[in-house]
Assembly symmetry: none
Homo-oligomer: 217 residues x 4
DNA sequence: AATGAATGAGGGTTCATTCAT
DNA sequence: CATGAATGAACCCTCATTCAT
């Protein structure tokens, strides 16, 4: 069905522009939807609000997304993916950056990502804004993954004599909770904070809580 | 909406029985609604589900509550009130129980309360399950109150030389987050945990993170 | 959920009246829907038209039927069932009524049934008014059944020496078509016809065809 | 909408080619639409299906037809016209072909036309596949015309002593119905039948009915 | 006090039609 | 000529709320 009459074999300029416009529209809708979902939650949000927010007609929405649910899943996928991409596993044998430095870098990237798109963060922090139990589980699964990573790190740290002996699963939950709590706090205030300072403070809090003192710094 | 508090002496036995029946019904509906709200969130929950769960007729529901919203607010009020009642301000001059002991007692009471009614806890932990932004703010306000209490305590601790110097607002947010994180974890597992052990672990985590080491037991 | 307090074990008068009212409503909706479907066809018909025709509110419709489709199926089932019940197999050994008489009786009952509810008949005569191919096949299956019955009768008649040798399947289709054609004609005219006369004429046509024997080849 | 009929001499070759291309496109769309309408009925059919079937873009459709309705009317007109052209009035004074032969020839032409384009025939046989009551009446009017022709022929035949005395309107309806019934049957089966044999059988049925004369009353 | 049939505003979605490119 | 993105009216259905019994 695509035409191309006397053109060279690569994508023509016209097609390129069309593709860009299409992506723009999609992004525009996602932006609008994200905001509405973050404010109202999935169920309460209405297509009417989304399209009003995006400044498009009812039918246009369905040109870019199959359903209300589809946009939401797109958004949720985006945030989970975005975060996952910003977290790298701590390497204890890294000679260029200390474990604590690596954690700091992870935190910095994550916080920067979250503060950049507050609506997205609201969705991430509130599993209840989600369409249904199934969707909430997608988020839960993400958090579970993080918690397991943290638990494993703590376990490893204990074996290395760097971390004091403790119920690592519980402490991991507490650590993740602390990060979420601080993030929530940051989002509440409108001014963008000095991320490095926040990370330092957060690390100081976490470190002094879990470490065996003699073994560190 | 509940009658009789001052209870003038003319109340007959008949009236008393009627009032008790009324309160029972109310409680029955609240119980049913709480469960449905916790599972589905406010918007997704339907009156149909609530009355089916309560085993009453549609009209009966509206005999006891003005609207769907009203039940929810009742429930939310109940949980906030219940928690507030279980938290007492730390008294540094208390000679019978150390500050740490007082915090432990608070935590124990709060966790016991939450684990006792899991549906309630879900609502508390997920502001997104709430009817709207306004209602979510009621919860936020509660958390804000707790955070301010914690901040004040930390500030006081710093002045007394018990707590290391830090961004107390941020650390307070982290502490509250840690508690929420652990609670969430506890609710996920079905088995009821040994609360004292959890509190010990949580305290150890928080303490070692915020204290000036030399100054404490 | 059903109550009954101090009542006898059988259905109470109240319940009976409620059941009757319920059936009345259902019938009222079916009546309205039948008319709309007959005039517009399934797809073109709208719930708005049906409820306007029935004089009820939107929600009320869904109190009695799960969906637009459900009403339609109810109606289609009713007509197929009604017709099937009015057709009895011809018994050649019946001593009280000749085969031709039996056919006449069948035709009379069928025509009377159809003329009694013209909307129903429209649906029966026009498979195209149906929701989809699947639903149309339900009708087709009915006609197929009738055609097979006719074919079998003709085959039997040939073996008995009563019917001239012919392509019975084709003649059966012609016979059924003739009946449908006449019915269509009757429905077009508003006045209710003298059914017996119609049946006589139809039978004469089927039996003997149209010619005056002596005058032809 | 189609240009050039009187065809003034100034038409250039270029214009001619353009006109032909235009007609081709039109035919292509009609072909696609016919199929979709026959399968789904007017209302169920969507422009999307038609253009997908025709392999053209959305806008192109509206370059050739004003609306969905317009294509349908074109198609309906085509079939009615095609049939009308294939039916010639019976001439009793024709010395080269007997009346029965003339009827046979009519039937052959009609059946051949219908079997040639099954989609068209579906539309013809199912007034319910039509946009609305108004459109259905166009079809009805066609059938009415045929019925009147048949009635007139029968009346004439009676006056000539060739046809037995009967309710000619009713018998005409039966005859037309028989033809439609047989056609429907032929369309159901996929294999193309031997038309002459069918016509013979159909004529025999109409002429003589189904009985073996000696065996009855 | 209790019931449940009835209501109608509002939800998500589809689709014939238009128009800038 | 041809395209396909954009439009918005209209569709089917849900559900909080009311009210006669």
């Amino acid at each position: 069905m695509s035409r191309r009459t006397g053109d060279d074999s690569t994508t023509s300029a016209v097609e390129e522009r069309a593709a860009r416009r299409r992506d723009d529209r999609r992004a525009q809708i996602i932006r609008a939807a994200k905001q509405v979902f973050a404010e109202q939650g999935y169920t309460n949000a209405s297509i009417s609000q989304i399209i009003a927010n995006a400044g498009i007609a009812r039918g246009t929405f369905y040109l870019y997304f199959d359903s209300k649910r589809t946009v939401f899943d797109s958004i949720l996928g985006e945030v989970v993916e975005g975060l996952t991409a910003r977290i790298s596993v701590i390497a204890l044998d890294d000679t260029t950056l200390s474990p604590r430095g690596q954690v700091a870098r992870n935190l910095q990237r994550v916080l920067a990502f979250l503060l950049e798109d507050r609506a997205l963060s609201q969705l991430l922090l509130n599993p209840g804004l989600t369409p249904d139990a199934e969707s909430a589980q997608q988020l839960d699964a993400f958090y579970e993954r993080i918690t397991l990573m943290l638990t494993a790190s703590l376990d490893h740290g204990i074996r290395m004599g760097l971390v004091r002996s403790c119920d690592t699963a519980l402490v991991a939950a507490a650590l993740l909770g602390a990060i979420r709590g601080v993030t929530r706090q940051l989002l509440r205030n409108d001014e963008t904070p000095h991320i490095e300072a926040v990370v330092d403070e957060l690390l100081a809090f976490g470190w002094r809580g879990v470490v065996v003192e003699e073994a560190w710094d």
